[in-house]
């Protein structure tokens, strides 16, 4: 099985970090994978996205132009990539920041008010990981078993205090029911 994932949002929302975390889950599952960030002259408030491919076979092109799964963290990202998602694919929408609905009817859509949820649990910077939690639950692309180990890989020792926060955010997303 191959999953092509595109995570897109504003710079500063942690889309690259979210992608890296998912990539580490793939690594811990012994899968083939690639992670590729957009690296334009980006800054906080600009647009950022990253391509993650998880596969049982060696990954060819690391560039995701037609994602199986799109995680859209802001409106420009949904506008830009909605049509690129493969038919039968999935779109995860941060419904706090994106007021419109997805127009496509041939994809599965999950509306998660992740920015609001993040504020409610006192972790306003971790809307990204709430989306990741929902992604893990619904996509089946990675299992929940390695969440802890993968978090240890991406949360640096210097920020060890943020481990619990990330874990809580993922859990919140995983257990969120629309």
């Amino acid at each position: 099985m191959t999953t092509q994932l595109l995570i897109a949002g504003f710079g500063g929302q942690g889309v690259l970090f979210a992608g890296k975390f998912i990539a580490y889950n793939g690594l811990l599952e012994g899968r083939q994978l690639s992670w590729l960030p957009s690296y334009g002259p980006e800054m906080r408030g600009g647009t950022a996205n990253c391509s993650v491919i998880l596969s049982d076979e060696p990954v060819g092109s690391p560039i995701v132009s037609n994602p199986d799964v799109l995680i859209a963290m802001n409106l420009p990202s949904l506008d830009k990539y909605e049509d690129a998602v493969v038919p039968g694919g999935m779109i995860f929408v941060d419904s706090t920041l994106i007021e419109r609905k997805v127009k496509r009817d041939d994809v599965k859509v999950f509306y998660v008010p992740s920015t609001r949820l993040a504020n409610e649990i006192g972790l306003p910077t971790l809307a990204n990981m709430i989306m990741v939690g929902k992604f893990i639950k619904e996509s089946g692309a990675v299992s929940k078993d390695n969440v802890e180990a993968a978090l240890k890989k991406v949360v640096s020792a210097r920020h060890a205090d943020l481990f619990d926060a990330n874990f809580k955010a993922i859990d919140t997303g995983y257990n969120f029911a629309e």
Binding site: K20, L36, Y39, G60, S61, P62
Partner: protein, 354 residues
């Protein structure tokens, strides 16, 4: 071998270099290779090595010349505009028969260009770049694993043949993360360098590292001897990978990120019944002439997939001796061909008749 870790291509270069025994790095920051310097800045002080951010690329390459003269493994890294600045020093390294590693994580040009990936420094890397008759060994990684493996190989080949080697990557390879397996530190065996200028201790004649020969007969001799060495390298060190070439009627030639994209297209074309394969050069100097020449007797056409206006295509035509047509499939300026574009080119070459 240790466990697999996730690393950016640029970081893999830096860690692999350290594990290959390179304890001296000189550079100047430029996107998209800055992580190499950043990694070195963090690690070198902890292991007794040297990280120095020079005042310019020109200074950095001349510092490389100095350390190499003393017989130590040394490297610099940059991206296209910065590598142009280094060309004088690279020619001096070649003229003085000094080993060193130069990393070029290419971006779009010419001029200041852009910061997105490119392969348009192919000519510069393989056909000189600096002045005079010389070559670099040029290695072209197509995965993060190869960013590490070919860095180590580059040091070994540079030392073996006493010449500079270049790792020619691109922005995608530098920025992407993939699982990578690194060799245990300290497992690399380095060659003796009796030519190095390390002090005579009054026990031997002076060693001289120099590229100035004012007597033309002498300079001619050094050039001819160097080219005898190049001939041996061309004979023995060309590296490539073949993919689905056994029954291929069409042959894609691509390296680096272009090869990764092309692989998707080859798989897709095969599904449509088109017998296409790929030759992926891993060295572009020496260019893998033999598999191309062999394929020229087998296939109906070649397709050169490049992130340039068509540079490698010249080497393919030469190696194929113009026996078969060579089409170009390209994007430039920081754009990357899509697998669909490569597939279209394959179909066009196949002319609709599978």
């Amino acid at each position: 071998m240790a466990d697999k870790v996730l690393m950016k291509g640029n970081e893999a270069i830096a860690e692999a270099a350290i594990r290959a025994g390179c304890l001296h790095y000189f550079g100047y920051p430029i996107t998209p290779q800055t992580e190499v310097a950043a990694y070195m800045a963090k690690r070198m002080p902890k292991i007794g090595g040297t990280f120095l951010q020079a005042e310019s690329e020109i200074s950095a390459i001349n510092m490389v010349y100095g350390v190499s003269s003393a017989g130590k493994r040394v490297m610099t890294s940059s991206s296209s505009p910065g590598v142009s600045l280094k060309q004088e020093g690279i020619s001096y390294l070649a003229g003085s028969d000094l080993p060193a590693l130069i990393v070029n994580v290419q971006r779009g040009g010419p001029g200041l260009g852009g910061i997105q990936p490119s392969q348009s420094d192919y000519f510069q890397a393989t056909k000189g770049g600096g002045h005079g008759d010389y070559h670099l060994i040029v290695l072209t990684p197509a995965s993060v694993q190869e960013m590490a493996d070919l860095t180590q190989l580059a040091f070994d080949l540079a030392d073996k043949y006493r010449m500079p080697a270049m790792l020619l990557a691109d922005g995608t390879m530098g920025q992407m993360m993939e699982p990578v397996e690194l060799p245990e530190p300290g497992t690399v065996k380095q060659v003796e360098k009796p030519w190095a200028v390390t002090g005579t201790k009054m026990e031997r004649e002076h060693n001289i590292v120099n590229s100035l020969y004012l007597v033309p007969e002498e300079l001619e001799k050094t050039n001819i001897e160097r080219y005898e060495r190049y001939k041996i390298i061309e004979e023995n060190e060309a590296r490539w990978e073949e993919y689905m070439m056994d029954d291929a009627e069409y042959c894609v030639v691509a390296f680096g990120i272009a090869a990764r994209v092309s692989k998707n297209a080859v798989v897709a074309a095969r599904k449509e019944g088109i017998k296409v394969g790929m030759i992926r050069p891993i060295t572009i100097w020496p260019f893998p002439k033999k598999p191309i020449a062999k394929a020229a007797d087998q296939v109906k056409a070649f397709i050169s997939v490049e992130l340039s206006m068509g540079q490698m295509i010249e080497d393919i035509r030469l190696a194929a001796d113009c026996k078969k047509p060579v089409d170009l499939c390209n994007r430039v300026g920081g754009m990357i061909p899509s697998p669909e574009q490569v597939l279209e080119s394959i179909k066009k070459a196949a002319g609709g008749n599978k």
